[in-house]
């Protein structure tokens, strides 16, 4: 029986490859968009006393306090009511971008605040403007500090992209879901789904660990 199902599963491999392409495409686009949004909002949020920072903290709270699934439904089902028609792919990328942006905003603003204020002051005293100090001195250091967290965030983003399968995008998860309807061997089918995500995510997690190790001390041994 297993052999028969295994052959069936091999037959649907092309769909899994397409699904993997879809997962990578959605994640990559959202990653780029989310990073752009996150860095810009992160800079604006790093100075805590401005009105802009307050508004942005509401944005971050709303995105962090509600499930991505609900956000996706809001964008996919509600926007058409206001006459904004979107394809599933666009809706997925837009919602994932806004969602990822809020997390990256947090990471970036925390790293900017972690850069010693003397750095900016020294730069200002050399006659640079505020924005020059930010771009030339503070941001390069902050982003280097933020790198492990950012890579970790990208892993989360790839995993969260599995949620977009519910609005009918055929990513890895939906490829599994479609296959399991024909091949009733859930362990085998979703084992394959797991392997595919693992192949994409595990190297990134290791990269994040390597980056993290540069900033930390050794383990405690029992």
């Amino acid at each position: 029986m297993w052999g028969f199902y295994f052959d069936q599963l091999m037959n649907s491999l092309p769909m899994f490859y397409k699904g993997m392409g879809m997962t990578v495409a959605v994640s990559a686009l959202s990653l780029i968009g989310g990073t752009i949004i996150g860095v810009i909002t992160g800079i604006l949020r790093s100075n805590e006393n401005t009105l802009m920072a307050r508004i942005l903290s509401i944005y971050v709270d709303v995105m962090r306090g509600t499930p991505f699934l609900v956000q996706l439904f809001i964008i996919f089902f509600i926007l058409p009511e206001f006459g904004i028609q979107m394809e599933a792919f666009t809706a997925a990328v837009v919602s994932l971008t806004i969602y990822a942006g809020s997390y990256i905003c947090e990471i970036v603003s925390a790293s900017i605040q972690a850069v010693p204020s003397g750095q900016e002051e020294a730069c200002r005293s050399l006659g640079h403007t505020r924005s020059q100090a930010m771009i030339l001195v503070v941001l390069p250091q902050a982003l280097r500090m933020a790198l492990p967290a950012l890579v970790g965030q990208y892993v989360l983003l790839i995993k969260d992209s599995s949620i977009v399968s519910v609005i009918g995008l055929t990513d890895i998860t939906r490829a599994g879901w479609l296959t399991v309807q024909r091949v009733p061997e859930g362990l085998m089918v979703f084992g394959l789904v797991g392997v595919m995500y693992f192949v994409v995510c595990y190297p990134l997690i290791q990269l994040s660990n390597v980056l993290e190790k540069r900033f930390s001390t050794g383990d405690l041994k029992l």
């Binding site: 306090g65 499930p67 509600i78 599995s162 995500y197 997690i205």
Partner: protein
């Protein structure tokens, strides 16, 4: 915006939303307890130094962390029946949530344990404590105290993640929104209400986190 928004429908469906909120709270509570137990065991195995325990713990943590919750949920939902295990959707969901979150809890604990001075373990060894006593009596209590803020962060993540259970038709908050949307075709009323209710839960948990951090800093500085 407001002329589109039908408050009467929300009022009419309030019992359903409240039922969903109650279920989400209950699922989250069970999930948090389950993930604490899973996480402690996985973490203890991982730092035990006994090869036979380390390898499975590492494998469990890494596989969970590099695959999406939705894929894990489907793996159990479609996979358990082919093992001849018949359980209802709610149990499947709770197991998936506990295992998923447990892997993250294990990592949080490990990070908390890193901060404990080695002298603590050496002192416990000097008292003649064995490995289990060293872990459960000396290390774990301190690690739990150190890691409460990230644990609460994980609890917030778990509450949000529980939304995914709606996809295997478990009754909870997101499902309540889906039911309203499918009965009345009012996505705005359905999902904005759901999002608002999740936000309430989020702010309560976040307030707890802030309160605890405030108390800890007072306590530490005193």
């Amino acid at each position: 915006m407001l002329e589109y928004f039908n408050f009467r429908i929300i009022w009419e469906y309030m019992p359903l939303f409240m039922e969903g909120l109650y279920q989400t709270a209950w699922i989250s509570l069970v999930g948090i307890i389950g993930s604490l137990v899973t996480g402690m065991i996985a973490c203890a195995c991982r730092i035990s130094g006994i090869k036979l325990l380390v390898a499975p713990a590492v494998a469990f943590i890494e596989v969970i962390r590099s695959t999406p919750l939705l894929a894990q949920l489907y793996f159990l939902y479609f996979g358990l029946p082919s093992l001849g295990i018949q359980v209802d959707e709610l149990t499947t969901g709770l197991v998936a949530l506990s295992f998923n979150s447990g892997a993250y809890v294990a990592e949080i604990l490990r990070a908390g344990i890193k901060g404990i001075p080695t002298g603590q373990v050496e002192a416990a060894m000097g008292q003649g404590f064995n490995v289990y006593q060293r872990f459960f009596y000396v290390i774990l209590p301190q690690a739990l105290a150190n890691t409460l803020p990230p644990m609460l962060g994980q609890a917030i993540v778990l509450v949000k993640d529980s939304a995914v259970l709606s996809l295997i038709s478990v009754m909870e908050l997101t499902r309540a929104g889906q039911i309203l949307n499918s009965e009345r075709f009012m996505p705005a009323e359905a999902f904005l209400t759901v999002a608002a209710l999740y936000l309430v839960v989020y702010y309560v948990l976040k307030g707890l986190m802030k309160f605890y951090q405030m108390r800890m800093t007072r306590f530490r500085s005193a």
